[in-house]
Subunit: 208 residues, 3 copies
């Protein structure tokens, strides 16, 4: 391992709270847009702005990580957490972009359901990340992680149901290609939330 | 790096053997189902049961890893191995679920061939993982890893052949979408087996 | 962590330069083939040869990593770099194989554009990797990384544009399936280049 000399510590928790805050904003906006059923230029640029802010925080965390010798928990966990929280915001933004690219203007009920579950999961991620800082919040963190895992299973079932429906009623192959993509991307957001839960859980266990 | 104090050691090998055992069970059941050509409700629940057992072992390994200070080999290798062995079982289960979601009832000969190669590869993974514990089994491990790599190449060729055939004879686009997905997922199982071989190989080299 | 005793050091830079050289060769050949518009058997085997050479270097790096106790920078960064540089060559080769599997003989203008951007990005990766060795080349490395990030954004826009066009004019669903795949794989090459830029950037920061 290369020799480093950065003898300062740094409080990463504030940055993680900020980053997860952007993920929550993105998930809320996504739910709002999908519920409205119309994807406007304005909604797109609001989402892009959130995504850029999330990116900035991720870069700050990685920069600090590279410069900090003593970290509050394992370096690879900090890196994984920054990457995964960033991925949540990115992927929510991506679904929106994909809807535009596919020229989909009428959102279907399955995507509305996904957007509700995604928002619930990202809020649970925020509780888990927020509770990590305070050792007494172990129960909050634990419950949030259980909830995230539950919602990931819900998401799997939703995707399978949506795909079954899509293929059963398939008339237009082009439309099948588009929606298969959208449903799968929506489900992956919940997978990433679960990855965050695993990292948070492992951090808590190591510090127990 | 956070300070930890877990001065106990733990024998991870027994858990890895158990985990790879579930992967072999999954691969055998998959081959059996595909050979039979019919996916029954009973087969689905047997596979789901294996997948749950595999999950349980994976969780035990990660929990132990977080609690153990001195590990028989690098922490990241233990984590990678637990994750990848879990992925094998998950992915075999996923292919089955996907066949159901797509309402595919007649299994084709390409998938039968894939199931045979997948079982061979997972059995080689079991030999590699089993041999890791015993330094004298270096030759067994080495040969198993070579075999896994060979089967991954076989899988690539099988996928390319299956896709060529699928697209060349393409009449129904919906069916193309479904089978493209299935073939690609089948090939990814062999990729994950190869990832295991790389980790095992690297563990053996470090301990040489 | 397992106990190891490999008290020798090793200069990894020469191997990384070699590996990135193969990636550049692959990207150049890809651009040449795509510009020619025809995928010959000869071109395929030249690309396969480059890919094998890249593989060999990757294996050498990993072997050395496993045998070397003191590394010029963090072990996980060496591993990530070897893996990602290998991925670039692999993926460029994969696009070519996929074109063959899909029996696509007439390359379209979007893929030509992608091939130009891919070559630019891989050349910037080579500058970044080459500059890493020399601390005085910080500015070269920094500029190359900025360029790689810029080209990744260009690639995102190109993929979105190509997909919009593909779906807007969609007559033949089979052709849509094929080209969607090709465009997405082309864009992923640029993502991998960006991953390299992140690793290189983080190595430079740690050594600052």
């Amino acid at each position: 391992m290369a020799f480093r000399f950065f003898p300062k510590t740094f409080n990463f928790f504030a940055l993680f709270e900020k980053q997860v805050g952007h993920a929550v904003e993105a998930a809320c906006l996504f739910k709002e847009i999908v519920a409205g059923g119309v994807i406007t230029e304005d909604a797109m640029s609001r989402m892009a702005a959130i995504e850029h802010q999330g990116d900035d925080v991720a870069h700050k965390i990685i920069d600090q990580l590279n410069k900090t010798f003593i970290t509050p928990f394992d370096r690879e966990d900090i890196y994984a957490l920054a990457k995964q929280l960033d991925d949540i915001t990115d992927m929510v933004n991506n679904i929106l972009s994909r809807l535009r690219v596919y020229n989909i203007n009428t959102v279907d009920k399955n995507l509305v359901e996904f957007s509700v579950v995604i928002e619930q999961s990202v809020r649970a991620v925020a509780r888990a990340v927020g509770g990590m800082q305070n050792h007494k919040d172990g129960q909050t963190v634990f419950e949030a992680c259980v909830e995230i895992n539950r919602l990931e299973n819900v998401g799997d079932a939703m995707r399978d149901h949506a795909l079954s429906e899509l293929f059963a009623g398939a008339r237009d192959p082009i439309s099948v290609i588009k929606w298969k993509d959208i449903y799968q991307e929506a489900e992956i957001v919940l997978d990433v939330c679960e990855d965050v839960a695993h990292v948070v859980d492992s951090i808590m266990v190591k510090q127990a």
